[in-house]
């Protein structure tokens, strides 16, 4: 059974690249364009891991992580932040919200896949 990953980013081109990298490794991918959209998609299928951007309209990534952690089904779902931000302050915010990793764009596919396979739910 293929595992499902939710990818949240307001840039369609970036969602596409992440999708290509993940699908190439055999994962199923669901896309969302901001925090609100992502929360609506969380009421659907079982999701084994979330990759989320930070700067998005409607609801930013950090808020989304906090909201997602409140949902009972997704409390323990690992979340990787994927963003252009590299400041320590922002990283600390992400860690406090409950993210498991912080990846600065652009990502190396091999490294991202290694992180995913390390953190993904069994």
């Amino acid at each position: 059974m293929a595992k499902t990953i939710l990818v949240v980013d307001d840039s369609a081109s970036l969602r596409q690249v992440v999708s290509i990298a993940l699908k190439g490794a055999g994962y199923e991918v669901i896309e969302a364009c901001d925090g609100k959209d992502a929360l609506s998609k969380l009421n659907g299928a079982k999701i084994h891991l979330i990759i989320s951007d930070v700067n998005m309209p409607n609801m930013d990534g950090i808020t989304f992580v906090k909201e997602a952690k409140k949902l009972p089904n997704y409390k323990f779902t690992p979340i990787i932040m994927l963003t252009t931000e590299s400041q320590e302050g922002k990283k600390a915010e992400g860690q406090a919200a409950g993210a498991k990793a912080w990846v600065v764009k652009p990502f190396q596919p091999a490294q991202m896949l290694a992180a995913v396979s390390k953190l993904i739910m069994p």
């Binding site: 840039s11 596409q16 590299s86 498991k100 990793a101 600065v104 652009p106 992180a115």
Partner: protein, 388 residues
């Protein structure tokens, strides 16, 4: 004018002083000398003072000039400032739209490129996998492995040859048993000759019996008839014997003929079998060559595909820059729109520092911050993954 006045005052003072001195102290040398000295000092003081005044005057004029010029300039620039504002009001929305157009066109093009690239990469992977599995099957020791197929083919083809050879052998055996028939026909011939001999002897006996019967006269007449009949029988036997010999001759000829034909076709068959054997060997060799070539090219393809995997990774990294440039352009556009709105709604001035500080807050990438501070962007940052 003031300068000249000062001169006069100074000279007057000097003259008064000298006069008083001369009057009071008398007209001797020392007094005259000091009087001259007094005058000189007065003159110098007057000259110095007037010069200072002239400088002050000149400066005052200069200042007045500068003030007037500044006033003129500011009036002038105020009018050119208003021209600038008009340009901004008109041009900013155009700039904004053009930035958005180029950003969205690039985004569309890059997404199309990425999709095609993903397609190519998948097809390549599938092709490599297929070739690898085919080569793997060929190289492997399973049922479809080249060695197994070769061995099986050889066995089956050799089996066919063996069947041919066995057929030949049974035909040869049959020919041998046909040939052995000739020994029987020889015996028959001998027996036919014996029959002929017996017939001729019987004939002689019958002749003798007829002579003896004639000698016996009347009593021998009955015997003469019997002797006659015996002669007839012996002739019949002789004829039968001759016919038998003829038949035996015919059979023998037939057997020899059949045998001759069979031997010829047997020779042809053996040649065909030998030719088949060498053809089979050739075919198996060529098959072996082809499969080893296939195996080699599959190995080469696997090598290349490993290198291609690295290229694919690099392309995926490069495609992500569209997202960064898109963010930077979007921020520039937002800023332009804000500035435009500010100019349209409020006619007050703008605090540049406050504006720039607000701009800095909206940044999301290191490049934007570096550019804002005036630093060099430098090369692409190294990959950072931080685990919490």
């Amino acid at each position: 004018m003031n300068g000249i006045k000062v001169w006069r005052i100074a000279l007057l003072l000097g003259a008064v002083g000298v006069a008083m001195l001369l009057v009071l102290a008398g007209l001797d040398t020392i007094n005259i000398a000091s009087a001259i000295l007094f005058l000189a000092v007065a003159l110098v003081a007057g000259w110095w003072e007037s010069k200072r005044l002239a400088q002050w005057h000149a400066k005052a004029i200069e200042d007045a000039k500068n003030q007037t010029r500044a006033k003129l300039e500011s009036a002038h620039s105020k009018s050119s400032m208003s021209g600038l504002k008009e340009v901004c009001m008109e041009a900013m929305p155009i700039w904004s739209k053009q930035i958005e157009a180029s950003r969205s066109q690039t985004e569309t093009a890059i997404m199309d490129l990425a999709a095609r690239f993903a397609g190519i990469s998948q097809k390549l992977e599938a092709a490599v996998r297929a070739s690898q599995s085919a080569a793997g099957d060929l190289a492997g020791s399973g049922e479809s492995g080249a060695t197994a197929v070769l061995t099986q083919s050889r066995t089956e083809l050799m089996g066919v040859l063996e069947t041919l050879k066995a057929a030949q052998q049974s035909r040869n055996a049959m020919l041998e048993s046909v040939r052995s028939l000739t020994s029987y026909t020889d015996e028959l011939r001998t027996m036919a000759a014996e029959v002929a001999a017996i017939a001729s002897q019987t004939n002689l006996l019958a002749l003798n019996a007829a002579i003896e019967a004639a000698r016996a006269g009347e009593t021998g007449r009955g015997f003469a008839v019997v002797a006659d009949e015996v002669r007839k029988l012996s002739t019949l036997s002789s004829d039968t014997g001759k016919k038998m010999s003829e038949k035996v001759g015919i059979i023998n000829t037939s057997i020899t003929d059949v045998f001759g034909v069979a031997e010829l076709s047997s020779k042809n068959d053996m040649q065909s079998v030998a030719a088949s054997e060498s053809t089979i060997r050739l075919v198996l060799e060529r098959f072996h060559e082809v499969t080893s070539q296939l195996s080699n090219s599959a190995e080469l393809l696997q090598h290349e595909s490993a290198g291609i995997g690295g290229e694919i990774s690099e392309v995926l990294v490069a495609l992500q820059f569209q997202d960064r440039t898109s963010q930077i352009l979007a921020h520039v556009r937002k800023n332009l729109d804000n500035l435009h709105r500010h100019l349209a709604e409020k006619d007050t001035g703008i605090d540049a520092r406050a504006w720039l500080a607000e701009m800095e807050l909206t940044y999301a990438t290191e490049e934007q911050r570096k550019i804002h501070r005036g630093a060099d962007i430098g090369g692409a940052a190294a990959q950072e993954i931080t685990f919490f």
